[in-house]
Symmetry: C2
């Protein structure tokens, strides 16, 4: 593995053609924004380029980044964007995991699986780095590219809310809006729109919200019955965990979702005082210090009991 | 009334001392950020300056903009910031309404009540304009001033979510973060923290959410009884109106709050198709095209009926 800089990355891409770009599985705004922005830039240079992904792309992302017709070809060069490890490629890891020529990423945990790696761990989004690469390629950023890049930056920063948002992030956003990015429309799609079924399950989840240990632990539970009752599904409920942590005084937020096989999964959100990855690790899971997850081969009620007991130990 | 530009505004302020700065009543992040940023800048120039406000400042704003010791003095010059009409001064309108020398604002509806008016209707926040005035005054923006200005810009744009957020807004945010604004901390205080009493009333409000006209109109009602039941109060419920508009398919969101005297107030939120200020104007209120408000001298239920009828007319 060789670490490269922006200019070297642009030089390498300039010398290649028939470029396949791969996003991570369960694709989010940053991996898609990075992939499609780079693809559009390479197409503008007269190259053949295509983006692929192990899973279906949610409509909201397609609406934000815009659809793109891409040519078919046999790839000569493979680029992964916003992918920290080959496991995250999902079902296409087997076909491409050992064939990644170039990786553009912003995760410090990147395992260095690619031949060349362009990694900026200070970037709030991979799109920040892709933007610099596109400039170095000499491609002028048009409205479509700007929309892709803005989507990635906006979604990976929780709409500029997270502490990861830097002066450089805001500067990139300013440039992209200047270049035509439809920030109002994109943010409305990504942050202001709840499906009716999500709104219904969110309401049920809030109704059933419970507090433990002097209100320092907040628990939301989502059962299969609640999915049936509201017509919602698990893929829609990614915003629920953040609700647990928003309440004043809460130090640990737990969102326990029942799976179809009777097992369940818990998303953990914490603030500085409690390390979410440690709590998850105790139950065989993992993640970041303020956001992690673990699984249980038991009922939601039993999992809740185990988790609250462990929280009592950690919170002292 | 005389319209002035940034430079003229700075020149006028440079020639004054004993400057009283007034925010609007029920102060929000933009009026407070503008007032305290300007006050800090004038104090740095060796002038006497003080900020006053008709109502108490919520703790969350104090935590974001930082506390400031201000001198006592008899004012020679009065500045209003982010105040579109003298009515918005609240209980101090009577004492100062006809004594405003200078107004710095970003509302196109500004009534021109001040002797000099610096108005930039394209600014997403009054703080964007105050920032330019501070620069023109020759004051270097320190971390405290940057925090005030960032708070105003971030809150008035819904954390950079609204379509009013321009390239210039992002550029200002970038500069402020560069100058030391604690964007992560401020956004967490303003957008990631709910009091327990607010969480309780939000839950009740969502439980009682109603839909009309094929789900194109969403109504939240907040009664005095709900405040009693949850220990919450009206000043805490400013985030409720945005909940109405977030649901897919909703074109008009109405949040009707019962006042202590049995009258009620409605906050209106819309998307492009419906002009919120027109709907409010029909009932004697006003505001912006996507956010407005009006009052009713009747019960919540009657107001709801009147509003939904009018919506039926507007939505056709």
């Amino acid at each position: 593995m060789m670490r490269i800089n922006i200019k070297e990355c642009a030089d390498i891409l300039s010398n290649q053609d028939n470029i396949l770009i791969i996003t991570h599985a369960h694709p989010d705004g940053d991996t898609l924004g990075s992939g499609f922005a780079l693809c559009r830039a390479l197409l503008k240079l007269g190259k053949k380029a295509r983006v692929i992904c192990a899973d279906e792309i949610q409509t909201k992302y397609l609406n934000a980044i815009g659809e793109l017709e891409m040519p078919e070809f046999k790839e000569d060069f493979v680029v992964a964007v916003d992918v920290a490890t080959i496991n995250l490629l999902g079902d296409i890891a087997e076909s491409y995991g050992d064939k990644i020529d170039l990786c553009i990423d912003h995760h410090n945990s990147n395992t260095g699986y690619a031949k060349y790696t362009l990694l900026d761990g200070t970037a709030a989004a991979a799109c920040e780095t892709v933007m610099e690469v596109i400039k170095a390629l000499g491609v002028s950023i048009d409205k479509d590219i700007a929309n892709c890049l803005f989507t990635g930056i906006s979604t990976d920063t929780g709409c500029f809310r997270y502490a990861s948002t830097s002066a450089a992030t805001f500067k990139a956003a300013s440039e992209l809006v200047e270049l035509g990015a439809e920030n109002g429309k994109i943010n409305r799609i990504m942050f202001e729109t709840k499906t009716k079924t999500y709104a219904a399950i969110e309401r049920l989840a809030l109704e059933g919200m419970q507090f433990f240990l002097n209100d320092r632990v907040c628990v939301i539970t989502v059962t299969q019955d609640m999915y049936k009752q509201t017509g919602s599904q698990e893929s829609e409920t990614e915003a629920l965990p953040s609700l647990t942590r928003q309440i004043e005084g809460v130090e640990v937020g737990l969102t326990i979702r029942e799976k179809t096989n009777g097992e369940c999964k818990c998303s953990i959100r914490t603030f500085e005082r409690v390390d979410a990855s440690k709590l998850a690790a105790f139950f065989g899971g993992g993640g970041h210090s303020q956001a992690s997850a673990c699984r249980f081969e038991c009922s939601v009620e039993e999992a809740k009991k185990l988790l609250v007991e462990k929280c009592e130990e950690l919170l002292g």
